[in-house]
């Protein structure tokens, strides 16, 4: 059953600079599943996403996507195979307009349901502001544009790194309310969040990282608050 997973991370060790950030981390995501990865600052969440996205390569272990190894594939290749990352801090291209940012996301020309029109339908505010330079958007709108940009590549797996970071709670709720629309197309999601309640509400399966190791995992509904805080803080 595990072999049927869309993404299979098998026992990876990865480094953040000279510092080992992940120790023997395994994780799997099925098609259409939303998986949350939670953990304190420095637990290795972002390094895990970067390893999957090909921005950094694990020193040990293996990453399989759709059964094929992507362990050492460069980031542009990983995207072309169908994994898109919404990077922490949004990181839109500041000298490009909103629409150009979306078009850059779509330049891989992977076939699929996501087009400019569909992204504008999902986030209507972006359509109104399509010709503005990306830095002219509010934080929440920038986050929508960053998600839209990633969707434009028609990924099979979308990695979301701290999409609630620095945003007002009402904006976070609005963005999370759109995620189910995204998943209807058979897309899988990995959500990295510090906002645990938000992550638990959205995800069906949760991994909790602590100091680079998987401290706890299980179906979101089956995990108790006590177990999570124990795994989160290591107390």
């Amino acid at each position: 059953m595990r072999d049927a997973s869309l993404l299979n991370v098998k026992g990876i060790d990865a480094f953040y600079g000279d510092f080992q950030a992940l120790f023997d981390v395994s994780l799997s995501v099925d098609a259409g599943q939303i998986v949350a990865v939670i953990g304190a600052n420095g637990a290795g969440k972002s390094t895990l996403l970067k390893s999957i996205a090909g921005l950094t390569h694990p020193h040990r272990g293996e990453i399989l996507f759709g059964g094929a190894p992507i362990t050492n594939a460069p980031a542009f290749d990983v995207l072309n195979r169908g994994i898109a990352l919404v990077p922490e801090g949004r990181r839109l291209f500041p000298s490009l307009s909103v629409e150009e940012n979306l078009l850059i996301g779509g330049q891989s020309r992977r076939p699929g349901p996501w087009t400019l029109a569909r992204v504008y339908e999902l986030f209507p505010v972006l359509a109104e502001r399509r010709h503005l330079p990306a830095p002219a958007l509010s934080g929440g709108q920038q986050q929508m544009a960053a998600i839209g940009r990633a969707l434009m590549s028609n990924p099979r797996l979308l990695l979301c790194d701290e999409i609630s970071l620095g945003l007002a709670p009402i904006v976070v709720r609005e963005i999370y309310s759109r995620l189910p629309h995204v998943v209807t197309e058979g897309l899988s999601l990995i959500i990295v969040e510090q906002d645990i309640m938000q992550a638990l509400r959205a995800a069906s399966h949760v991994y909790c990282l602590q100091e680079g190791r998987v401290a706890l995992q299980g179906p979101a509904h089956a995990l108790t608050r006590e177990a999570i805080s124990a795994a989160y803080f290591g107390v």
């Binding site: 996205a53 090909g54 921005l55 460069p74 980031a75 542009f76 995207l79 072309n80 898109a84 990352l85 990077p87 990181r91 291209f93 500041p94 000298s95 490009l96 150009e100 078009l103 850059i104 996301g105 330049q107 891989s108 330079p133 830095p135 940009r149 590549s153």
Partner: protein
Amino acid sequence: MTAMQWFNVVLQGVLIGGLYAMFASGLSLIFGVMRLVNIAHGDLIVLAAYISLMVTQALGVDPLTSLLLVVPIMALIGYALQRGLLNRTLGEDLLPPLLVTFGLSIIIQNGLLELFTADSRRLQAGAIEIQTIQLTQSVWVGALPLIQFVVAVAVIAGLQALFYKTALGRAFRATSDDQSVAQLMGLDTRHVFAMAMALSLAIVAIAGVFLAIRTNFDPAIGPARLIFGFEAVIIGGLGSMWGTLAGGIILGISQAIGAQIDPGWQLLAGHIVFLAILAVRPQGLFPKVSG
């Protein structure tokens, strides 16, 4: 001197300014996309002139026709150079690419010296070299400088359109903004950089051929063209294509006026104006608006 003669001097300066803008736009393009300062840029201009010389001699065509071959040859050289060598030098540190292109400059100069000796050469464009067009009673312009200026404006306009209207230009700007996110969007930055270098050297090919029709050249004249290119880029302001054209024209006019005062002042006048603008407006006259 009469006002008409001064007008003529300025006009000649404007026309050669187009050539300087072509030197500069290739430099500015790759600095903008990959933060690489190409010290070998001037020598690549000279290399293009020699390639054109070989093509004209081998095929018996005139230099402007030889561009049909020289432009793709230089673009290919640019692509290969970037993929095979320069991409390996890029990183956080600006110094390695600077040193490697400095070395490349020396290799190209000595390679050309070995192959073609230190003799001065000239590309012969034939009858068009002496054709002139009369603007007013006392102002005449050569057909060739005029063609050269029109081509320069077309190159700048073309670059501008490519940057802001095409997918490749979008990829250039995105990669310039944030390399690692560009890769996350599926852009192979090694290829994007190589395309930028190919484009830069395609412009170098045009600039090199016009330079070689205009003046004598030998393997050692590259570094001075590099300086003119740099000065035009800095005067115009980094990141602005039309600014680069303006920078080239200002440099050309300064040199023409300097030469009019005293022939020995031609280059000096250009450098003085460059330094004055650098002192008063270090960001250049037309810097790119916002980040």
